[in-house]
Amino acid sequence: MPPLKSLGPGFPVIDSDFQSFCASLGILSVEDFLLHDLDALAAQADLRPSPERLKQGLALVFTIIESMHQPWRNGMEILEDVQKNKRILSTGCEGVDSLLKGGLHEGHVTELTGPSSSGKTQFCLMASAEVAYKHKGLVTYIDTGNSFSAKRIAHSIGQVDKKVLQTVMNRIICYSVYDIFTLLAVLHELEFRLKSQICERDGIARLLVIDSISSLITPILGSNGPQGRGLMTSTGWLLKKVADEYGTAVLVSNHTVSGNHGTTKPALGESWKVIPHTRLLLTQVGGSNCSISIIKHPSLENATSFSLLNHSQFCITYKV
């Protein structure tokens, strides 16, 4: 939190008088104003000499606070924005696309949970290939377990011209990340780059894949202390911000842990459940087949619809 005096040169009304008035009330930075009642401060200013100047300073602080939150929008504006800018990206796997009635939503965080070797990485790679090739979009792939494979992506794309393949592969950028702090740094850097690049909607599809986010968060969750969960919540909100502000579809993968009485449940606990918009669960049903079902979705009914997928190919055999 920068101190008030750093505002000084740009805003002459924040002079030393105003700063000493604020310091007497325990306010040293603009953020401190958020915890105080501005009307009560104005009443305090009346008791001082030259209250008008102090009140001008308070009015300026008020306009700064107004810029500190996201703008208000009405329902029509949001609807038009979504209809124009937020598309649904197909994932390359018809079973999942039919289950999700289209595919991954730009602006939403989608989570794929499943036990180990149930095909989560395969799905992430397929989705990356689909977005880079079919939708000609940019993919940021954050790999936490050295499972990214350019060969499998090329295999998903199929037989194409070498130059085309090169262009497509150039659209996918892979980061190897092994702890939560590096992940936060990568996300902040991505956000900064997107903010400076996007002046107006450029219509480019964007996908952010994190495979798997649970291996980064599980080590910090630990005991009942709030630090680990606080970090997890901050990461989640940053993902949602990147998704919504810059029209990115975010796909994260999670593993499962055993619940009570031999059931399996997704890892990362109760506080994680509010972070993804859509949650999908992969369960193995014998052989190389697995079934994928929806645990949570903003508008579809959950828990009763599922698709059956062939593991090795993520093929089309599905039933609802």
């Binding site: 009330l25 325990g26 040293l28 953020e31 401190d32 958020l34 915890l35 105080h36 009642d37 501005l38 009307d39 008020f62 606070i65 107004e66 500190m68 939150h69 996201q70 703008p71 208000w72 929008r73 009405n74 329902g75 949001i78 609807l79 979504v82 939403h108 202390g225 709030p226 630090q227 969960r229 606080g230 970090l231 997890m232 919540t233 901050s234 909100w237 940053l238 949602k240 911000k241 919504d244 619940g259 009570n260 009485h261 031999g262 059931t263 606990g269 109760e270 506080s271 459940k273 509010v274 918009h277 645990i295 949570k296 903003p298 508008s299 009914e301 959950n302 009763t304 619809s305 609802v320």
Partner: protein, 341 residues
């Protein structure tokens, strides 16, 4: 002058009838749409809806919003809404405007005499129900959508800043639309709980400096909300997600479900899971601010959908404050939450 002042101070301002008329006019009693219909509420009440994720909390907020923005009557058709403005503060950042539009369209469709079965059949076929509606209702739809104001907050400081500047915003919109703000919806009041708890109180060089700890932040938030309510009376509905895992045996419920499920059974089981899952984690200052409490739970029963396609899971709703002895059941369909008798 002083005599007049003292005499004026002890003289009668208004009689009881006038006061009642004034209060009921300013803060009329309203009924929220089902399944929240059991308790009449008024502006100035604060309702907290607790539940795990997912349990249809956001859907209940959306339905309350739709009920508020729809007009009472429009071009001869009775819609039964309040025709007022709604503010939605999204702390969870997972609001889906398509869902709002879907629920709004369904209400308009039903008010115009459409049948639920036709709507669902058409949707199931993948047919375009929207085409006829666009022609007739686009004006009404856009009028309603324009009465809905939305802001999202990615962190506590943004939430604080939003509340601080809310009064000016409300005044501007009330003047522009000529309607009052009836409803303030906050989605997931516990969104930043862990981050606020983890904010350590550093050694401060100034004695009276307020800190951004959980207590400090919530004192400021509740103070701002109270100020807002005193100037612009409105109904506040906040959803709250549980943050503690379920330590009771969730899988045990199917076994008990084989036997007769009477209300007492259900309530005793719900009470047990309440203790663990719905442990209160919000600071005392927020708990004192809340006037009504509702709990949502997912039950293991399901019921066949009206289009016969698949089973829909049943959700349970219970009022804790005021404590009612009934548990309402509802299912979530394309059109919103529908009560199950």
């Amino acid at each position: 002058m002083v005599e007049n002042g003292v005499k004026g101070w002890i003289s009668v301002n208004e009689g009881a009838r006038e006061m009642l008329e004034r209060v009921l006019g300013e803060r009329p009693v309203m009924m929220l749409p089902p399944p929240l219909h059991r308790v009449p509420v008024r502006a100035g009440n604060v309702i907290e809806i607790s539940g795990t994720s997912p349990s249809a909390k956001t859907l209940l907020l959306i339905q309350a919003a739709v009920n508020c923005v729809l007009p009472t009557e429009w071009e001869g058709v009775h819609y039964g809404g309040l025709g007022q403005l709604v503010l939605y503060i999204d702390l969870d950042c997972h609001f889906d405007v398509a869902r709002l539009q879907q629920v709004l369209r369904y209400r308009i469709f039903k008010a115009r005499g459409g049948r639920v079965v036709d709507w669902e059949q058409n949707n199931a076929k993948g047919g375009n129900v929207e085409l006829p509606l666009i022609v007739c209702d686009d004006e009404l739809l856009s009028l309603c959508m324009r009465r809905f104001f939305y802001v999202r907050c990615y962190q506590t400081s943004e939430f604080l800043a939003t509340l601080k500047t809310l009064h000016c915003r409300v005044q501007r919109e009330v003047e522009a639309h000529g309607a009052r703000i009836q409803l303030l919806l906050i989605d997931n009041i516990g969104a930043f709980h862990w981050v606020d708890r983890a904010t350590t109180i550093s050694v401060l060089e100034v004695q009276n400096r307020k800190s951004f700890s959980l207590q400090g932040v919530w004192e400021a938030l509740v103070h701002d909300l109270r100020k807002l309510l005193s100037v612009h009376p409105m109904l506040i509905v906040a959803s709250k997600a549980s943050v503690f895992g379920n330590t009771t045996n969730e899988a045990e419920r199917p076994f008990q479900g084989r036997f007769s499920m009477d209300i007492a059974d259900q309530r005793s089981r719900m009470k047990e899971s309440h203790k663990h899952k719905f442990r209160e984690y919000m600071p005392a200052i927020w708990q004192a601010f809340v006037t009504h409490r509702v709990i949502l739970q997912n039950s293991d029963e399901s019921v066949a959908a009206s289009n016969g396609q698949h089973k829909q899971p049943i959700h349970l709703l219970e009022w804790l404050l005021p404590a009612l002895n009934t548990v309402d059941k509802f299912v979530v369909g394309d059109a919103g939450a529908v009560l199950v008798p």
